[in-house]
């Protein structure tokens, strides 16, 4: 069991999700030698619903991973020795899709009387409840609908807003509905000052202490890869690369996903990988208020914006 | 003539030797017919061929039109979910219910009607099973060692009762007791080794009805004839 390991040792990098647009930079780094050029031997492993990068880090099966902020905060609350070395999404891709024909949600107050899909126990529940609290909407003023992975209730109009990953499934579903002549829009909590951080890059504290150089090289490699992958000039390469790993998704869709992803990772005058400490603190505060964690964890101590 | 077997030859699908070669026999008149022969010679097989339960033989079976032929044997069981009496009543056509009562007495089954089949002794099982067949509508009933586990006195009583009640039916009685077939059967089909020709010989029996004392010397002659034939 290796924890940290020698600089030349093999590194495992556990993603949060299946290969798709959200792993574009990771694949790019692997495919175009960003790791090897820095002397790193990295195996990129896809994630999934039963994969938890944090557990793998602790078990020594991986040295780096991607986890969402709420996972990180939960783990910190339970004493997991992990640190955040980069924040991938600047805006949370978890948003709500709706039919824009009859509605436009300029303010959360318009949610009153609507049926809103949430995954009970999921992030989207925490975010939506925080939003409702912030805008003083009593939970019984909206109908919360428990969602599953199949979209039928939304398709059939039983649910007005459906939680979705904006840059992945969001594109697919919007596209599908557009084909049938239905226009869609996305409800974005970030726009209403509920900033709940999503995917970020993590490693263990011991890895950081024993091999700070490796950690730095890894982060730099990955962020440069993302930077290049997101660059409009490289779009064709990126699309082809993602399509090679995610053959279920047509290239045209991936192109659109790429555009959406770029906006989430690189907003106007943003910097890729920037750790937005305030957003993390707000995330922690929301989780505390929603009772997801029992006591503060001081998440800023686990964030390493430039401490490398 | 109820039934005639013409030039029957048969080999079991999994067996390698012929059981019958060009066997002929017939049941011409009603009454008790015996089927006798050493163990393994093919009595059960012949009986099941007659009843239509085995096919794949060569030769021909001629049956009287709409002849009802039933085959019963001593390894059959009654279902276990209710008492023997209930099962017997259930399979008895309403018109035969008095007959059922008569048979239960004659077959000494009175103490068994409230028991489950699995709680009977072997001989009781034999008798319960035979009883239900007798209550059916049949022209020929084949009894393949149906009374093998019953004591001689009861067996005698049963045979005599059957002969009394069903004088017009055909019975083919398979048994290993020479004395019994010689005493009670009118004709005895003696089945012999396949290498003997003919494979089946018919011998006359005493066709005793249980009324008079049997003629001892005549019976012994019949027995001897049977044993010699076999």
């Amino acid at each position: 069991r290796q924890r940290g390991g020698e600089p030349a040792a093999e590194l495992n990098y556990r993603l949060k999700w299946l290969y798709n647009i959200n792993t574009a930079g990771d694949l790019y780094a692997q495919e175009h030698g960003f790791f090897t050029s820095r002397g790193l031997k990295v195996t990129v492993k896809p994630g999934g619903p039963e994969r938890d990068a944090i557990r793998e880090l602790e078990l020594g099966r991986a040295q780096f991973g991607v986890a969402s902020a709420d996972q990180v905060i939960r783990a910190l609350a339970k004493g997991a020795p992990i640190v955040v070395i980069a924040q991938l999404f600047q805006q949370n891709p978890l948003q709500w899709i709706y039919r824009s024909a009859g509605a436009c949600y300029a303010s959360p107050r318009q949610l009153r009387g609507k049926t809103v899909g949430i995954t009970f126990g999921g992030n989207d529940e925490t975010i939506m409840r925080a939003l409702l609290a912030k805008y003083r909407i009593a939970p019984d003023e909206v109908n919360l609908f428990s969602v599953r992975y199949d979209y039928t209730p939304f398709y059939r109009g039983e649910v007005d807003l459906w939680p979705i990953y904006r840059n992945a499934e969001g594109i697919v579903i919007a596209e599908k509905m557009a084909k049938a002549g239905e226009q869609t829009g996305f409800f974005v909590p970030d726009l209403f000052a509920v900033r709940f951080v999503a995917n970020s890059l993590i490693t263990t504290r011991s890895m950081l202490e024993e091999n700070p150089g490796v950690v730095r090289s890894f982060r730099d490699a990955l962020l440069s890869a993302w930077q290049e992958a997101m660059a409009p000039a490289n779009a064709a390469r990126t699309i082809a690369l993602v399509h090679a790993y995610d053959q279920g998704t047509p290239a045209e869709i991936i192109a659109k996903q790429l555009d959406a992803t770029r906006q989430l990772m690189l907003p106007e005058n943003g910097r890729l990988g920037r750790i937005d400490v305030a957003a993390w603190q707000q995330t922690e505060k929301i989780m505390l208020e929603q009772g997801v964690i029992d006591s503060p964890v001081a998440v800023e101590k686990a964030l390493l914006p430039d401490g490398l | 003539m109820l039934l005639q077997c013409l030039n029957i030859s048969y080999r079991y699908p999994q067996g390698d030797a012929l059981v019958f070669r060009d066997l002929n026999c017939r049941l011409a008149d009603p009454g008790f017919h015996g089927l006798f022969g050493p163990s393994g010679v093919g009595k059960s097989t012949l009986a099941r061929i007659m009843a239509g339960e085995i096919s794949g033989f060569t030769g021909e079976i001629k049956r009287r039109d709409r002849a009802g032929i039933l085959y019963s044997c001593n390894t059959e069981r009654l279902p276990g979910w209710s008492s023997v009496g209930d099962h017997l009543t259930k399979v008895t056509p309403a018109a035969n219910l008095p007959l059922l009562r008569e048979l239960i007495t004659a077959f000494d089954l009175g103490s068994c009607v409230d028991s489950r089949f699995s709680q009977l002794s072997l001989g009781q099982k034999n008798r319960a099973n035979l009883t239900r067949y007798l209550l059916q509508d049949f022209d020929l009933l084949i009894m393949d060692e149906s009374l093998a586990n019953v004591d001689e006195a009861t067996r005698k009583q049963i045979i005599v009762t059957i002969k009394q009640i069903f004088p017009d039916r055909y019975f083919l009685y398979i048994s290993h007791s020479v004395a019994e077939v010689a005493t009670f059967c009118a004709r005895i089909l003696v089945l012999r080794d396949i290498h003997k020709s003919p494979q089946l010989i018919e011998v006359a029996g005493r066709d005793h009805h249980g009324d008079a004392v049997p003629d001892r010397p005549a019976l012994e002659r019949a027995m001897l004839e049977i044993v010699h034939a076999a």
Binding site: R1, D52, I54, R55, E58, L59, G60, Q71, R74, A75, K78, G79, A80, P81, T119, F120, G121, G122, S146, R148, Y149, D150, T152, P153, V292 | A51, E53, L70, Y71, S72, T75, E76, R77, L78, P79, G80, W81, V91, R116, S118, N129, R132, Y133, Q136
Partner: protein, 254 residues
């Protein structure tokens, strides 16, 4: 019997727990990966009441699902018994239904039936019925020559009787399978709740998993195990009663 089943379950459960804790302390894992003992205790206290209600809820649905599954398996096994076209078609349909993972079929079920109790019951029943079906087909499809002969040759054989004979002859096996499949009814219900319901222990489990809260998962598994044992005991007692009423002998005396 109750005592035995329960204490067996407890031994197994705590053995498993001990293994997990051993892994935790050997490798110095945090409470996030494997919760510590006090963490579990606290969680247990916090969620026990709610989870208990949820498990009872689930058990109720499971019992109905189990009955449904038994009925379904019986019907399919009976109808699929004869070797005619309809029989084999129904058997094929029944087999193929099972070839699909419920997660893949569930959306279609939800489309066709909506997402009320019927869908949940159906999913529970589907998961539980297949093992029953396999045994039932095996048992109901095999003649009991010694008993059936009379009924066949006297023209008395009806399918009801045939089924009755074969079922009765294999009553011990049937009871084993029916009792054992209770467990699957529980699982089926839990999975259905996991996929699509908003109550029951399956739903609680899903939330605990979303929250990566292994302590809650372990508490839920504990309660599921306890109530599963209780249900099994109840069925075993029922099985005994049935055997007694039917006058089936005990095995050792056969």
């Amino acid at each position: 019997m109750l005592h035995k089943r329960l204490s067996q379950f407890l031994i197994i459960y705590f053995l498993g727990l001990g293994l997990l804790l051993a892994v935790k302390y050997c490798f110095g894992l945090s409470d996030y990966v494997i919760p510590g003992f006090t963490d579990m205790q606290n969680t247990a206290q916090a969620v026990a009441a709610g989870y208990l209600r949820a498990v009872l809820d689930t058990l109720g649905v499971a019992v109905i699902g189990h009955v449904l599954a038994i009925a379904l398996a019986t019907v399919v096994a009976i109808v699929g018994r004869p070797d005619n076209l309809l029989g084999t078609m129904i058997k094929t349909a029944a087999y193929n239904l099972q070839a699909y993972p419920i997660v893949a079929v569930a959306p279609i079920i939800f489309i066709l039936l909506g997402d009320g109790l019927p869908s949940r019951l159906l999913i529970a029943a589907i998961i539980c019925y297949f093992p029953l079906l396999l045994s039932f087909i095996g048992i109901l499809g095999e003649p009991v020559a010694g008993i059936e002969h009379f009924y066949v040759v006297t023209g008395r054989m009806r399918w009801q009787l045939e089924v009755k004979i074969r079922a009765f002859e294999n009553i011990h096996k049937l009871i084993t399978v029916v009792t054992g499949s209770a467990t699957l009814a529980m699982v089926g219900t839990i999975v259905a709740e996991f996929i699509g319901a908003d109550s029951g222990i399956g739903y609680s489990l899903r939330i605990a998993l979303y929250q990566s809260d292994i302590a809650k998962v372990l508490v839920a598994l504990f309660l599921i195990g306890v109530f599963n044992s209780l249900y099994l005991v109840a069925l075993e007692l029922l099985g005994l009663a049935v055997r007694k009423r039917m006058g089936v002998e005990q095995r050792t005396q056969q």
